[in-house]
Amino acid sequence: MSAKPGKIFIDNLWFNNPVLIQVLGICSTLAVTNNVRNTLVMTVGVSLATAFSSWTLSLMKDLIPRKVRMIVQVLVISFYVILIDILLRAYLPDASRQLGPYVGLIITNCIIMGRAEAFAAANKPLISFWDGLTSGIGYMAVLVAIALVRELLGFGSVLGFRVMPEGFVPWTIMITAERLLPGGHGHVARPEPAGAARSGG
């Protein structure tokens, strides 16, 4: 395959957007979009994890037996995500504390494994890195757009800065999905990353 970097970028951002077209990673579009700052951090993490794991898996692709390829993919993805977590804890303890469970949950994002399977398994390392990175950017574009609306209406702010006037009544429904289900027993649609993102992509 000899796709051009420019085309890969446009595809991943628009024509083959991981969320809108491939319908991957959609659990987190609900789980992590109730404020823009968290969404940005999460999507930057996903972009880096996708880029580096695609690169590594592409380097290893001729050595990986088909029988265990998914196990190896998960291993490599977990490796990078845990590495990010360790570095944050050591060098950015405040950010690490605020992110809490977010970082570990990147492992379960389907886009990472999707790109490893669909692109890195058949392409050279550098272009796989680029594909992973741009997939992450496509994911980021969609999630930040959703988060802008949800934070604006749910908290009356954007990136934590208040923009709505004093008397604005926040739409709590924008920042919680629990009450969307009849009876409010929303175990399926809880907005929390622990429930939502772990159920897969």
Binding site: V32, V68, L87, Q98, P191, P193, A194
Partner: protein
């Protein structure tokens, strides 16, 4: 032409899986080991800073915090969970750690009060895994600052939850009532329970218990 290397051979699959796991896990172990001291120092600072925050002792940077902590605060030996005593101009103040169940995982707080247990000095959150943006907002300053000087009524400080919670911070320190986080009723309820346990523990420690 050379025979193509057989990747599906069972012996290769086993050896490959083993080696790959060993290599990546060793990489993580090395990273963990290399940063262990830093992480420990960060934790130490976080724990000292939490106690100072709860007691309402202001500090500018980690070095000053360490100094103030060394001068003013003394851990109570043998206390489980951890408890601290601090000598302040107006008498002895106590700080205790307390852990309880949140919505997703354990929440650990530090709560501090003077000997008379009339009012809280303040609280600080050491660890929580609540939903970021919802329950996770218990770690935001507006929420924690509400407890500064709040009156303890009947052994607890109530946290309003659900529809009656303003979600922007209660101003009155005399009613023993603070605002919960809107959209995070269960986390707010959990905090009220954990705080009640912490207040009971403060009474125990102030009475000479461990």
């Amino acid at each position: 032409m050379k025979k193509k290397f057989d990747r599906e051979n069972i012996a290769y699959v086993v050896v490959f899986s083993f080696v790959v796991c060993a290599v990546f896990v060793a990489g993580l172990a090395a990273a963990n080991e290399a940063t262990a001291d830093r992480v420990r120092a960060n934790r130490e600072f976080a724990s000292q800073a939490a106690v100072l925050d709860a007691l309402g002792i202001a500090y500018a940077d980690p070095a000053e915090a360490a100094g103030l902590y060394a001068n003013a605060v003394r851990p109570i030996e043998g206390a489980v969970p951890r408890a601290y005593v601090a000598e302040r101009p107006d008498g002895l103040h106590y700080a205790v750690e307390m852990t309880g169940a949140g919505l997703w995982g354990a929440i650990t707080i530090v709560a501090a009060a003077g000997e008379s247990l009339e009012r809280l000095d303040g609280i600080q959150i050491i660890a929580q895994n609540e939903t970021p943006g919802l329950g996770g907002r218990i770690d935001e300053p507006w929420f924690k600052e509400q407890f500064r000087g709040e009156r303890i009524a009947g052994g607890r400080v109530r946290i309003s939850a659900g529809a009656e919670a303003g979600g922007s911070g209660a101003k009155n320190p005399d009613d023993g009532l603070v605002d919960g986080v809107s959209g995070a009723t269960r986390t707010s309820q959990a905090m009220e329970l954990i705080l009640a346990k912490a207040i009971a523990r403060l009474a125990e420690v102030a009475g000479g218990g461990k």
